[in-house]
């Protein structure tokens, strides 16, 4: 047992083939330790197994080999308490209003009704959804829907937040501002954050450490330390090191992405629907 907040040892994932043939080796082996309160980002070519890695950490998918520990407890296809996930796809419940969507996270929390309501209210304000509390997700833009999902995760006050390309649907300006928002939340809550993104500048701007994944089967082929101060925001892009780190990430990632492209050319579909 290590004293890391999250720790992965030799984690591998092979999806069994439907007709009993050779399975699809999606991930690993991966070794990884996340410190408590660390902001960790992962970049990698499309289809390399980033979402798979996240799902294994969350306990949504059992690892084929290796172990995952969260706060010293084995995670084995059983979702531990204290984890929040924001998925790549839109996961709002379309039949519930924004408010009800967010309150959904507090269903089981032993809080008085008005305390719950206050917490929901706080998160709504925090995410700038105040004017839309009574709206249904269909009435919101893609970015606002993603904010609802983030709010639904935050309201449970998770100690580990897993974000799978949460800003994928947003334009560049909004992304940067949302990045600031996430940094603020991270500082405020002291949670450990694990962020998947395909935007290198986003990873560089937000994270303490950034891992680059190889083409499928995804392994961590480079981990870059940013050494940013904890107090930081999107203006960090002006720093000289920013360019250097982004350039180093891209150098590694370019080769891997080229491999995926070549694979795709050979008729290997990697894009999720």
């Amino acid at each position: 047992m290590s004293d890391a907040h999250v720790s992965l040892r030799d984690v591998t994932k092979v999806f069994p083939a439907a007709n009993g043939g050779e399975g699809l080796h999606a991930l690993g082996p991966v070794d990884l330790d996340l410190g408590k309160g660390e902001f960790f980002a992962v970049v990698g070519p499309s289809g390399c197994g980033k979402s798979t890695l996240l799902e294994v950490i969350a306990g949504l998918t059992p690892a084929s080999a290796g172990t995952v520990e969260f706060e010293g407890w084995r995670v084995d296809a059983d979702i531990p308490d204290g984890i929040g996930v924001v998925f790549q796809e839109d996961a709002c419940f379309p039949w519930l209003s924004v408010e009800q969507n967010i309150a959904f996270g507090l269903r089981k929390t032993a809080l008085a009704a008005d305390a719950k309501q206050r917490r929901v209210r706080d998160v709504i304000d925090l995410m700038g959804l105040g004017d839309f509390a009574k709206s249904y997700p269909a009435q919101l833009s893609g970015g606002m829907r993603q904010r609802v999902c983030i709010a639904r995760t935050l309201v449970t006050q998770p100690r580990l937040i897993l974000l799978d390309e949460p800003f994928g649907a947003l334009d560049q300006q909004t992304r940067l501002l949302m990045g600031d928002e996430v940094l603020r939340l991270w500082r405020q809550t002291g949670a450990t954050v694990f962020l998947i993104t395909h935007a290198l500048d986003e990873a560089t701007m937000l994270a303490d450490r950034i891992a680059v994944m190889s083409a499928r089967p995804g392994r961590l082929i480079d981990v870059v330390q940013t050494n940013w101060p904890r107090e930081r925001d999107s203006r960090i892009v002006e720093r000289a090191e920013f360019g250097a780190i982004t350039a180093r990430l891209w150098k590694t990632l370019r080769e891997e992405s080229l491999k995926t492209m070549a694979l795709k050319g050979a008729g290997q579909a990697a894009e999720p629907a």
């Binding site: 799902e55 969350a58 949504l60 979702i79 308490d81 984890i83 929040g84 996930v85 998925f87 790549q88 796809e89 839109d90 996961a91 419940f93 379309p94 039949w95 519930l96 959904f104 996270g105 269903r107 089981k108 249904y136 997700p137 269909a138 009435q139």
Partner: protein, 249 residues
Amino acid sequence: MSRITLYRVGVIAAAVLLLELLCYVRVIDRITMQPPHQIVRDLFVILASGKQNAAILKTLSNASIALSLAIVVGILAAVALHGYRTVRETLDPLFATYYAVPIFAFYPLLIVLFGLGDAPQIGIGFMLGVVAVIVNTLNGLDRVPRVLRKTARIQRLGTIETALKVALPCAAPYVLTGVKFAVAYSLIGIIGAEFIMSRGGMGYEISFAYNNFDNATMYPLILLILIVSISINATLSWWEKVLLARRGL
């Protein structure tokens, strides 16, 4: 009122007027059909006299028992079946055949099993309705996005809670479609069974009136059944529309 609604009312009014006219000039004779205004008037007379109240009550309450059973059992069965792909693939041909077969053939069997009361009729109504609920609920459950099921797991919902709080609400419009069919089918079951063999109910009264050339009873009762089924259907359609509009569909 929108233009479309106006057209719609116009079409219906024209159809009714045409019927009136055809009856008036005796292209349709009085033995075949009463003019529409006469049918409506007879319906008021029948409802006011209370002569048919027992029959109406019997049919509608039996139909609602059959319908409720079909909805509850159908949804439960669909939720239970949903995960078992092989079982479902095995049952598919049965579901595809089901509504081509006269389920009324099982009426005598149900009479032997349940006696001569209302139970066999409710049984037929239930048998006709339940499969529509199962098939449509399964269809809806199939369309629950995977990410919502993952969300349910992340929120640590149990199997039953996932079904109640995520899967079924998500599938609600499809379940509602199944319920709409079940309304029609439970009425078909009850009324058909009453036609075949029973000692009361609207189906019995309609066929009794038919045999006695009593159009003043037969047509109003038929009209009443049409009104009941169309208004239930319209209400459910409206609800469905609200649900879908909420989702931007």
